[in-house]
């Protein structure tokens, strides 16, 4: 009875994981298809990769996606961290209101945020394109950075900065040498969230962009209306990139931890 239950739960888990990974695998396999078909595999070839690298619209989409993700991450991480430090020292009322305001882009359906920004940019008369897309990405990334920095600030000892100031540090030194190193893990995870949010964004980018500035998501959306296997090549490239980033982010801390453990063990042995 118990055995059969275990097998059943394992089977179910396997089915769901297959459901998760089948489309990803399918994309990768068909990116190497020599034919045009999305359903019949004719043989191995790299022609869609060749086509992708020669397609200027695909290359520029990759460029814009990365450029905007990097810029939006840097700006939103810096601004978000500064704002979080400021707010954590502000009056409770101000902090409460700002938390509500920050929740707007997180809780609102993306399409609502998108049309709001679209109308806002056109009211100001800003030319739709790189600038509007970057501004929009910075706008929706900052709240996520603040969400991951705020808890770290809350667990910080409030006397720490005061102690630094009493010992003669300038406020700037207290900030950079005492507070920021303490909240670094929150800043890094905030930056990571910001990067992936910006890298994967479709809806907001789709509404606020224009004049031929596309990111990968927009390109996939507009190209998917016709059969185009180079999309699979592009997708495979993205899957590869994300997998590498995820492996690095998840495996590096484990390796570091093991190394530190080894060091500690060695130290203990020496002491003994």
């Amino acid at each position: 009875m118990k055995q059969s239950k275990k097998i059943l739960s394992k089977l179910y888990m396997a089915l769901v994981l297959a459901f998760f990974y089948l489309p990803i695998l399918y994309t990768v396999v068909f990116s190497f298809n020599s034919g045009r078909s999305l359903t019949r595999f004719d043989g191995f070839s790299l022609r869609w990769y060749e086509k992708m690298f020669n397609d200027s619209s695909m290359m520029s989409a990759i460029f814009y996606t990365i450029a905007i993700a990097v810029l939006a991450t840097i700006i939103s991480t810096i601004v978000g961290t500064i704002a979080a430090i400021g707010l954590s020292n502000s009056k409770k009322v101000v902090r409460g209101i700002m938390e509500q305001v920050n929740n707007l882009p997180i809780m609102n359906p993306e399409i609502v945020t998108a049309i709001g920004l679209l109308m806002f940019f056109s009211m100001l008369g800003i030319r739709k394109g790189f600038t509007t897309m970057l501004l929009a990405h910075v706008m929706f990334c900052i709240p996520y950075v603040m969400l991951s920095v705020m808890p770290k600030l809350r667990s910080l000892d409030p006397n720490l900065a005061d102690a630094a100031l009493d010992l003669g540090a300038t406020p700037w030194q207290a900030l950079v040498k005492v507070i920021v190193p303490q909240i670094m893990p929150g800043i890094i995870s905030g930056a990571l969230i910001a990067f992936t949010m910006s890298f994967d964004d479709f809806i907001i980018s789709y509404f606020v962009t224009g004049n031929g500035v596309n990111n990968i998501s927009i390109l996939v959306y507009t190209m998917s209306k016709r059969v185009n296997p180079s999309i699979n090549a592009l997708s495979t490239l993205i899957i590869l990139m994300i997998t590498i980033i995820l492996v690095v982010v998840n495996v590096v801390p484990i390796i570091k931890e093991q190394r530190e453990k080894k060091k500690k063990r060695a130290q203990l042995q020496e002491e003994a």
């Binding site: 179910y12 500064i82 707010l87 020292n89 101000v94 609502v112 945020t113 806002f120 992936t196 809806i203």
Partner: protein
């Protein structure tokens, strides 16, 4: 540390301009008519009347709610067991399983949705497999089935992770106490595990329902050009027909419906927790 307080001011200004102002613009556009500039600002509820008096739009609204509801229920029914199974494992296996659920979420939604276009074709993978056992080909792509499948596929990780988090926070000693007091496994699941995982279920429901009701690229990619949900209507009002007033009104209607449904789920959650506490 009052000297750091000034650091918040630039962001306060920024967020009023970039977050609050665009939201106010939606409100303003929704309650005015096209052609008005700031000087001849005229209040009207015509945009809302236009929506609610047209059976086509009401039909779209009904279908959007139905698809989102179906997606949410399916995510809950399929996702809960997965979250439960993961919470029962331990150590490395647990970390690995959580990672396997999380990885697809990091890969672009458009990319993952596009893959289904090939899989669901008449000569695609599923119909080929069905052909071997003598079924089909079934019409899969450009149907309700394809749209709901695409939504479940995209949003179920949110549900699983939310429920898993609340299950793993649960104090295992409650279950031991229940079994000491003579409850069998089914009883202790219904009386203890289920009520304690309710907060996760509720936030999972919100995280699935919200994007499902407003989604527009999944219906377009998997439902075909003729398949229209409320997100598609908003998209076309802004990007093709250019009627921003009407588009704003529709998105306001959608936002209000979402707020009401969130309020209801939270209410249900509260009463559920009270009963669970007893």
């Amino acid at each position: 540390m009052k000297q750091f307080r000034n650091m918040a001011y630039p962001y306060i200004v920024w967020s009023v301009i970039m977050i609050v102002l665009p939201m106010l613009m939606i409100l303003m556009y929704a309650f005015t008519q096209k052609g008005n500039d700031v000087l001849t600002f005229r209040f009207t509820i015509e945009n809302f009347l236009k929506f609610f008096s047209d059976p086509i739009f009401l039909d779209v609204l009904r279908r959007s709610l139905w698809v989102a509801l179906l997606t949410t229920v399916l995510c809950l029914l399929l996702g809960y067991p997965i979250a439960y199974i993961i919470s029962q494992t331990s150590g490395r296996k647990k970390i690995l399983l959580v990672m396997l659920i999380t990885i697809p979420m990091w890969i672009n939604m458009l990319v993952r949705t596009y893959a289904w276009v090939g899989i669901l074709q008449d000569k695609g993978l599923i119909n080929t497999l069905l052909g071997y056992i003598g079924i089909g080909p079934l019409p899969l792509i450009y149907t309700d089935f394809a749209v709901v499948l695409g939504m479940v596929y995209n949003f179920i990780p949110f549900m699983i992770l939310q429920i898993y988090t609340s299950l793993s926070k649960m104090d295992k000693s409650y279950l031991e106490a229940a079994s000491d007091l003579g409850a069998n496994k089914v009883e202790s699941f219904i009386k203890i595990t289920l009520p304690l995982s309710l907060p996760g279920v509720i936030s999972g429901i919100t995280l699935v329902f919200l994007p499902a009701v407003s989604s527009f690229f999944i219906p377009k990619m998997l439902g075909g050009g003729q398949y229209v949900l409320i997100g598609n209507v908003i998209e076309s009002q802004f990007l093709t027909s250019g009627n921003w007033n009407f588009g704003s009104a529709i998105s306001l209607i959608m936002a209000i419906i979402i707020m009401i449904s969130m309020y209801i789920t939270k209410k249900v959650d509260k009463t559920g927790q009270k009963e669970g506490g007893r």
